[in-house]
Amino acid sequence: MALISMTVNGVQVSQEVDDSTLLIEFLREKLKLTGTHMGCDTTQCGCCVVHIDGVSAKSCTVLVGQAAGRSVTTIEGLAKGGELHPLQKAFREHHALQCGFCTPGQIMAGAELIATYPGELNEHVVREEMEGNLCRCTGYHNIVRAILAAGAEIRGTKITDPTLASHSVEG
């Protein structure tokens, strides 16, 4: 057992937990933040992605001790002051989810990609960089569109996906 402290969604938390506790277990079971989903438990699917000091990570493959003293953001912490994050809005706008199980991980991964990717975001880049997030429903098309749309909004750039540009003009 160890006393683990970290900042989660801006709030300082401390709990006594077993050393073998995974970050996802800490978030879901101790803090009751159940937005972070356990999809595969084998580091493949990306449903469990959170940010640790602003960097995306699969929380099913991080021990609480490895996140101690750090700042963790989960899907519950993405909206600010009741206002959805632009990528959350874009997921709704572009119908980028069906069952929604993969969605928290997709949004956390996409938000980090938009915030940190050094180059231009285009369809190819988004598909390559989102390889660690699997979706069994949507076929990815609308997920990619949503990330491109939110990326353009956040970065103040033009959308580089032609199908999306025409959609926006019509819409």
Partner: protein, 271 residues
């Protein structure tokens, strides 16, 4: 996972001490191989000693003709490093081809090298560049370090602290990856320094990463894809699994070696 005690030492000495005090301790770096293994209950270490908080095991520098990379440096840091891009662009590209971005944010060069997975990328660069593996007690040439499947010359409790890569004139890497696992089915790393050429293959060897002396000789005489077009690889020494047969891998090695040499200084990923 079976229960264990987690340690986060700040120095090599503290890590060594934690290891010697543990009943059956093991080191933890990025955890992206070890934690999935523990979840499957394939191992039950008493203590996990996290080496990523040790400052001297972090970071990238250029010194005395070598590119020196701390063992706990993540794949993403190696990929993005301007020093690595300038000195050995193929190594940066190799790091950027590993897994997916979340895996690259946590997995480390030292963990990958110490683990010596027969399909992992880094062992091919360490061997293909003739790097030196630095531990808390000695320095080992890459030719002596990789011993077999998941096996290295590391002794119990020996910590890989840094990898020193000699800077080559040319390095190139061609990887044929499994779209599902993202590991290599076959990948070939080629480097040239003066007239000396090294060719290392990962993903294919029945006993892990290995060199191809015949290919090296041919490319030393003539560093062009045509120089190795007539060479073949014996499937007897290769892996056969659900991704590919040994014969298919033998052929892929020839193709990847040729493609690597076609684009010196680059990394190419095929899937």
């Amino acid at each position: 996972m079976y229960p264990f005690t987690y340690h986060r030492p700040k120095t090599i000495a503290e890590a060594q001490q934690a290891f010697s005090e543990g009943m059956d301790a093991t080191f933890l770096s990025g955890g992206h191989t070890l934690l999935p293994t523990l979840k499957q209950r394939l191992a039950a270490p008493s203590d996990l000693i996290d080496v990523t908080g040790i400052p001297e095991m972090q970071g990238i520098e250029e010194a005395g003709g070598f590119l020196k990379i701390g063992a706990a440096t993540t794949h993403d840091t190696v990929f993005a490093s301007p020093i690595v891009r300038r000195l050995i662009p193929a190594l940066s590209g190799l790091a950027g081809s590993i897994g997916d971005r979340h895996v690259r944010h946590r997995g480390t060069i030292g963990g990958s090298t110490a683990n010596n997975d027969p399909s992992a990328d880094y062992p091919s660069a360490v061997l293909g560049l003739g790097a030196t593996v630095i531990t808390d007690r000695r320095e080992m040439a890459s030719d002596d370090f990789f011993v077999g499947l998941y096996e290295t010359a590391r002794e119990p409790g020996e910590i890989v602290t840094r990898i020193d890569f000699p800077v080559p004139d040319i390095a190139c890497y061609a990887k044929f990856r499994s779209p599902a696992s993202r590991y290599s089915i076959v990948a070939v790393f080629v480097s040239k320094t003066g007239s000396a050429v090294r060719v290392a293959v990962t993903g294919a060897g029945a006993s892990g990463v290995f060199r191809l002396p015949e290919f090296e000789e041919a490319l030393s005489a003539d560093f062009r894809p045509e120089a190795i077009a007539h060479l073949t690889v014996d499937p007897d020494m290769l892996l056969s699994d659900m991704s590919a047969t040994a014969e298919y891998r033998a052929d892929l090695i020839r193709v990847m070696a040729r493609r690597a040499v076609e684009k010196p200084g680059q990394i190419q990923s095929f899937k």
